[in-house]
């Protein structure tokens, strides 16, 4: 179903439309939060909170009319920021916990863990904004426009951040800090 029609039905709290929205986006929102928070239970609660806020926004007629996914990521992003404000943790410190667990869709023993660790370290060396762009762009698979909408930056700034982030990753690859030729990574890519 087209998103605008789905949102139109959601405005009336149509259960089927809302269930469709939840099924389509909950996992991605959960993954995004989990990578930032590092706690599965907290990530589940916060992802649920994102969807409850969607209902509240619909109720007060301030809900999204277009680009629902970006709206959800935006709310998730704000919740993460609030979470760290409450915890008075530095954002960079939390990002050290990036990729804290082994994903379900990858399993290849020690090599895989090594690759994850390498990726975690490599991405953790990026600036906070660069990390956000890399995660949203290449992990979540969003477009530049969507990433810009979520982070509140123009699309040109997103392109620039992505460019610098990839250049930094490339330098790490060239320096041998990130081994992209591990068998686990290759098997995951194939």
């Amino acid at each position: 179903m087209q998103e605008d029609l789905l949102l139109e039905r959601a405005q009336h709290f149509d259960p089927k439309a809302l269930a469709e929205i939840f099924d389509a986006h909950y996992t991605r929102i959960y993954g995004y939060i989990y990578r930032r928070i590092g706690s599965p239970s907290q990530a589940e609660d916060m992802a649920g909170e994102v969807f409850l806020r969607l209902l509240e926004a619909i109720k007060t007629q301030r809900g999204p009319r277009t680009n629902l996914l970006a709206w959800l990521y935006r709310v998730a992003h704000n919740l993460i920021v609030d979470h760290y404000r409450r915890q008075s943790k530095a954002a960079t410190q939390s990002l050290e916990d990036w990729l804290v667990s082994v994903p379900d869709n990858l399993s290849d023993g020690v090599d895989l863990a090594l690759t994850q660790e390498q990726l975690r370290i490599a991405v953790g060396r990026l600036t906070f904004d660069q990390q956000q762009v890399i995660v949203l762009k290449f992990v979540e698979g969003l477009s530049n426009a969507q990433v810009g909408m979520i982070l509140g930056k123009p699309e040109g700034a997103i392109k620039s951040l992505q460019h610098r982030a990839l250049a930094a990753l490339r330098r790490q690859i060239e320096d041998g800090q990130l081994n992209v030729c591990s068998s686990a990574l290759r098997s995951a890519l194939e």
């Binding site: 259960p15 939840f22 992802a47 007629q61 379900d104 992990v139 490339r170 992209v180």
Partner: protein, 291 residues
């Protein structure tokens, strides 16, 4: 890293998503470019493959909670719609962002329009008063001898309207006398007139006045009985006929001019005077100009 490398990377990522293999994507590129792109593609693909998935039980629990909340809101919304009045529905409709601006703009336009209309009406009323005032003043002047204080309020509009200039030139001899009435007024001001300010009834007389423009003669008569000295002392008091103001004054004077009783022109006096105490009024019959 060059910007075109970013574009090439994005292009390859799209092709990979479409189902092509990495080797197929890199095959068409120069060896150096392919070698440059390969590690980046592998890293970004590795990142994409690291998505997290929630535990099925947790996902089901969150889903149920979400749908239960949606059902509660739906029920609430239905009840609210049943209870809302037409006005409330209109208010909610107008409160929507897309209409709010339009409503504000319409309201501002309406307010400005009303303000403009009020200004126009006030101007029209003022003009009307300006037209009426002179005649009223003349009528009043006919009967008055006394208090300038009473005249003062009426005088203010009068000065501009008092069209006297026109008649003045015509009735040459009288025109010279016209100043005389002014002094007459001035003196009353000094002398405490018994009936200083009587406001009301004068206007009716004024309405009738236009014809009695001949009133001048009676004025003279009235002045005599009253204590106020009729004798024209050429004092400069009267503010009425300012030469500059005159231009628009079309109406009253011309009518006054024809009657021979030129002295009646005394424009300066206030209309209120007509209310002069009972005895005076009797003594001074306004209308009949003795010819």
């Amino acid at each position: 890293m060059k910007p075109d490398l970013d574009a090439a990377l994005e292009s390859i990522m799209r092709r990979l998503e479409a189902g092509e293999t990495l080797e197929q994507c890199l095959a068409g590129l120069e060896p150096a470019r392919a070698a440059e792109l390969r590690p980046l593609v592998e890293v970004t693909r590795a990142l994409a493959g690291l998505r997290m998935t929630p535990a099925p039980a947790a996902l089901a629990a969150q889903r149920q909670k979400f749908l239960a909340q949606a059902a509660a809101y739906r029920h609430e919304q239905a009840q609210a719609q049943e209870n809302t009045t037409l006005w409330q529905q209109m208010g909610a409709w107008l409160a929507r962002p897309r209409w709010r601006d339009a409503v504000v703009a319409a309201t501002l336009t309406l307010v400005l329009g009303l303000a403009l209309l009020a200004g126009v009406l006030r101007g029209a009323l003022w003009m009307h008063q300006a037209e009426v005032a002179p005649s009223a003043t003349f009528v009043a002047l006919a009967g008055d001898t006394a208090t300038p204080a009473a005249t003062a309020p009426m005088m203010t509009p009068a000065p501009q309207e008092s069209p006297t200039p026109a008649p003045l030139p015509t009735a040459t001899p009288l025109a010279t006398e016209t100043p005389a009435p002014v002094p007459a007024l001035s003196q009353p001001t000094m002398s405490p007139s018994p009936t200083p300010i009587i406001a009301t009834p004068t206007l009716p007389a004024a309405t009738a006045t236009p014809q009695p423009t001949q009133t001048p003669p009676p004025v003279v008569a009235t002045v005599a009985p009253t204590a106020t000295p009729a004798p024209p002392t050429p004092t400069p008091l009267p503010p009425l006929p300012t030469p500059t103001d005159r231009p628009e004054r079309p109406t009253p004077q011309p009518t006054v001019a024809p009657p021979s009783a030129t002295p009646t022109r005394e424009p300066t006096v206030t209309p209120t005077r007509t209310k002069m105490p009972g005895p005076r009024m009797e003594t001074t019959p306004l209308p009949t100009p003795p010819r």
